[in-house]
Every structure is written in C-alpha cells, then in structure tokens.
C-alpha cells in the first residue's frame, strides 16, 4: 500500500531564508511552498504574526511542514478521518478528507488501521482555523527505513540552528562521520591538506602548489599529490592552473 502523495523532497526547507526577503509576488509563492522539517512541538508552539501569513517558531518560517510521528489514533468523522500522530515532543491531529466518489470512510479506516503504532512521515500545509492549527492536504507515508527518523531530526535541528544565526564551526562539521585514517592530532591527512589549501586559496589565485603542501606537512610531493587527487574526487578542491596547484571549492 502506498500512502505517499508526492512530497518526498526533504531539502525544500533550506531555501526558506534566501527567498523570504523578496517582496515580488512570484518569489513569495516560492517561499510559501518550501517544505520545512520540524518536530510536533515546533508546530504546536508556533505563532502566526499576521492572519493568513506564515507561522513562525524561533525565527523559522513554517508553511509547508514535514514531521515524523507514531500513528496513534484514528477517528471516523464521516466525511473525514482524524488521525493523531505523536513524536514524544507533542501530539497533533491530521485531518484526511474522504473522497466519496473514490472510496468510503470505512474503507479508508481499514487502510489506516493497519499502520497504527508505526512510524509515519507526514507532510502538509500548516493552517489555522479559529485558533486551532491544522495540517491541510496532508500526505502520510509509512516509514520503512527508520534511519529517516534520525535524519529528519538532524535536519530540523540544522534548520533551527541556522535560523538563530549560529554558524557551525568547521571542525565539528564532520562530527557524524568517522574520519578515515585519522592521525594522532585527530585530523586526517586529507583534512590537513584541505586546511592548507583553504587557508591559502584567497592569496594564491593561481592555486596552492603541491610542493607547499608537502613542505608544510612533512610528506613527499607524491603523497601530497595523491591526497589532492582524492580531494578533487570528493569535490572539495579543484585543479587550478595545472594539476600541480589546487584551489578549495
């Protein structure tokens, strides 16, 4: 059974801040359709500064939202089903309208009954009716790979932190990943090569020479060249004038 409705794009939320300063109506439309990953607590605590405007929570604009929760309860309201999702930070009721020409409320109930107690990924537009928040045009998809839960929360945290104007220090960028061949100082050779290229890119417009890297790190030119090629392959640097000098992306 497929409950997805085509909102599998997780990246939408990142574009929020860039476009929200534009007053042009077409640009505003774009902002309004971006999808922001959030926790249910953020939805419940968000406020709407202007009627019919975007909701806001801690400087993050919310319009289309995505969240993750356990499917806890379903109620038959004849023309619609009220589905309660909960993620530990709060609970929210999502209304799914029943299209009588296609299916019946009982049929839809049976379909959703089977996903009770499972994790689902939900997207929709955040709206407010007489002070009650609701999720319109909701799509509900069962999560098969539960790493999605971790990734969703990490994305929500990332967007929240960026909206507060806090920049993530470069060193902690790779926190989640194990560095290959980490040296005693905790940095891998690749990281150290990259650091030298980054530090010198601004002043050496024709590229940071391989010889400079090898001298700095006390390694042979060939070793430095090998590291540079590896960094080119991962897209972090590129060859400048020739393959003896590199610039950081």
């Amino acid at each position: 059974m497929d409950y997805s409705g085509g909102f599998d794009n997780y990246e939408g939320g990142y574009n929020n801040e860039d476009t929200s300063f534009q007053n042009d109506s077409s640009q505003r439309q774009q902002t309004r359709s971006s999808l922001t990953p959030v926790t249910i607590k953020q939805i419940n605590e968000s406020t709407q500064p202007y009627p019919d405007g975007d909701f806001q929570i801690n400087k993050v604009n919310l319009n289309m939202v995505s969240f993750i929760g356990i499917f806890r309860k379903i109620e038959d309201r004849k023309s619609a089903l009220n589905i309660t999702l909960e993620d530990g930070t709060g609970a929210i009721t999502v209304r799914k309208w029943v299209d009588d020409s296609q299916t019946s409320a009982a049929e839809e109930m049976a379909k959703y009954e089977s996903i009770k107690g499972k994790y689902v990924y939900c997207t929709g537009a955040l709206k407010s009716f007489s002070d009650n928040k609701s999720i319109q045009n909701a799509t509900i998809k069962v999560i098969e790979d539960h790493n999605e839960i971790t990734y969703h929360y990490l994305q929500a945290i990332s967007i929240h932190i960026k909206a507060q104007g806090i920049t993530i220090p470069k060193d902690s960028k790779n926190d989640l990943f194990v560095n290959e061949g980490a040296s005693q100082s905790g940095k891998s050779m690749d990281d150290m090569v990259l650091e030298i290229i980054r530090n010198n890119s601004a002043t050496m417009s024709e590229g940071v020479p391989v010889q400079l890297i090898s001298q700095n790190l006390n390694i042979t030119d060939n070793q430095a060249q090998e590291r540079c090629i590896a960094l080119v392959e991962t897209g972090k640097i590129y060859a400048a004038y020739d393959d003896q000098a590199y610039l950081a992306v």
Partner: protein, 103 residues
C-alpha cells in the same frame, strides 16, 4: 498520548531518573517479563506491561519510565528496521539535549 518524553540512549539514563523516555536499541535478552536493550550501554527493561511481538536481536524503540534502579518500565514498543545506524542515533541523542526549543 498527550504526555511528552525525552529521546535518549543508555548513557543518559542516570540524568533522566523518574522521567518518561524513548530509547532505540537492539534487544539483547528477553525472558517474557524483562529484557536487556543495547543502546550505547545496557538498559534493563521491565516488559510485563507489553504484549507486542518482541524478538531478541531485533531493533526496537521503547517508551517507558526510568525507575530509581535505572530499570525502564516499558509502556510501548515500536519496531525499528534492521539497518538502523546507531552511531548516528547516539549523536542525535546528544544534540537533542542542546535544543530544548525543538524537543
């Protein structure tokens, strides 16, 4: 389910005594009423209130209350897929503490 809980791993049991928590881990042992969940350390579970299908060596998310003896009395169990990356999860548990605005 109007109550909220904190997502943790085994290392954060001590600081969440008496609270309702949510832990993802791999079930190491299970004898009908109790079990051990591995989640960055061993978590002793009281599973006498749970009637879900529970299997050893599978991943589960449990919701329960941490007792004074650091045993978790489980209210609810949810299946988690076999490919779950626990290293990422342990990192997430550390970050969650730092953003109370979200969790």
């Amino acid at each position: 389910m109007d109550t909220t809980d904190t997502r943790i791993d085994g290392t954060l049991l001590q600081s969440n005594q008496g609270k309702i928590v949510r832990i993802v881990g791999k079930l190491d042992t299970f004898d009908g009423n109790s079990g051990i969940l591995q989640s960055n350390g061993n978590v002793a579970l009281d599973l006498s209130n749970v009637d879900s299908n529970i299997e050893v060596n599978k991943n589960f998310e449990i919701i329960g209350r941490v007792t004074e003896g650091l045993k978790v009395v489980v209210f609810s169990v949810t299946d988690i897929s076999d490919n779950f990356n626990f290293d990422n999860y342990y990192k997430l548990c550390k970050f969650i503490n730092q953003v109370p605005e979200l969790f």
